[in-house]
Amino acid sequence: MVRRVYFDHSATTPVRPEVAEVMQNYLTANFGNPTSLHYFGRQVRKALEEAREKVAAAIGAKPEEIVFTSGGTESDNMAIHGVAMINKNRGNHIITSAVEHHAVINTVKALGKQGFTVTILPVDKYGLVSVEDLANAITDKTILISIMHANNEVGTIQPIEELAAVAREKGIPFHTDAVQSMGKIPVNVDKLGVDLLTISGHKIYGPKGVGALYIRKGTRWRQSLFHGGAQERLRRAGTENVPGIIGLGKACELAVQDLEKESAYLTTLRDKLIKEVMDRISNVRVTGHPTRRLPNHASFCFEFIEGESMLLSLDMKGIAASSGSACTSGSLEPSHVLLAMGIPHELAHGSIRITLGRDNTEADIDYFMEIMPPIVERLRAMSPLDQE
């Protein structure tokens, strides 16, 4: 059997056994509808509220500030749409950044077609948004700012404390997408100073198809995506994804418990990986910030070769990684994140992202370093680009 090494933890993570175990019970034995008044319903309602407490505790929030959703995408949509809709009579200006996930950027752009004005803040070569740029972009029509905590493609961690402080001063609601930062660096809504915050189960060793939106008490927000039953105190209609929510609660609890140890461990692995790649392969660039980056995140651009062909070659050797190359998605434009950082098109095509997880070991890195250099060599030998 081929050796399998999973290096794509920013795309998704396996559900931890402890999480899968607690979920199981809520599929079969404890299956009631939490809305039901009877025993079967009440048992589940109790567990649901315990999960809410766990999620809240993990980010320093109050349980009633947590709304469960179907994932990070829904949370982002719900945050942005809900704030925009309730505030549209006060102003119509939304600020976001050029490196957001599509769940944010496409939602904001859709509002841009519905009478809202959008400012997309640029980033520097490390992918950082500047506090000054944000301060300058704010007008008296600004009703929402959404800037992500950590970037999924390059791992850069934004100075959310400072950005949110600017918003706070002007009384503008601030949303951050913490899908990637959760479980990897501390995420605390008060320390960050944010009003809305998105998390997703499947990036933190929890299940896919469940997420949460934190909405600070007092934030002007209105449920505006779904219509239906009165679940989640009228904030999200539809029978709750109970096993998913139980899983999310457990995953949040474990994530915070293990944060320090895991982050130290992953940092060591990641630094070894980056060092060896830079030492042993020529014409490579690390993308993202050298230090303000997620502990498990290494991303590179390899000159003269294309991302998808690297991924396929790695995959044949059992290594799973990802790329911001346009060719992986069949589009012509490579990652908007890399382009926003000023990386030229041809270099952006050669991007590769290695995101480590708790089951990875030094031996995995060694295996990668055994496999990768010959792949690069082979593909470069095939490349028609001028290599000097």
């Binding site: 003269f304 294309e306 062909s309 190359s325 060719c327």
Partner: protein
């Protein structure tokens, strides 16, 4: 996503390289779009006697390059000009729909190389 045939050509591409004294060289694509194909031809009596390629691009780009060289080798330039991008994709057992823009390059690169050969003849 890719057929076994595509993966075989990706893993073991035929005719990779350059021909130093090529009779025709053709290049299509650009690095901005993420794909460049360059084809080198050796032509004797209107027959393609040798062909090599270099490609910057995805799995489909590499596989179609490889396939087109295999299909063109030994053909007359008239026959080679009739090779279509579609025929190349079909010979590979098909390509994912998303990859259509890059599967539309390999035969073009071959044709460009033949054009270049003909221009030189003039």
């Amino acid at each position: 996503m890719y057929t076994d045939k595509v993966m075989d050509h990706f893993e073991n591409p035929r005719n990779v390289g350059e021909i130093a004294d090529a009779d025709g060289v053709g290049q299509v694509g650009n690095p901005t779009c993420g794909d460049i194909m360059k084809i080198y031809l050796k032509i004797d009596n209107d027959v393609i006697t040798d062909i090599k390629f270099k490609t910057f691009g995805c799995g489909a780009a590499i596989a179609t390059s490889s396939m087109v060289t295999e299909m063109a080798k030994g053909k007359t330039i008239e026959e080679a000009l009739k090779l279509s991008n579609k025929a190349v994709a079909e010979a590979l057992g098909g390509l994912p729909p998303k990859k259509m823009h890059c599967s539309n390059l390999a035969a073009d690169a071959l044709h460009a190389a033949i054009e270049n050969y003909r221009d030189k003849q003039k």
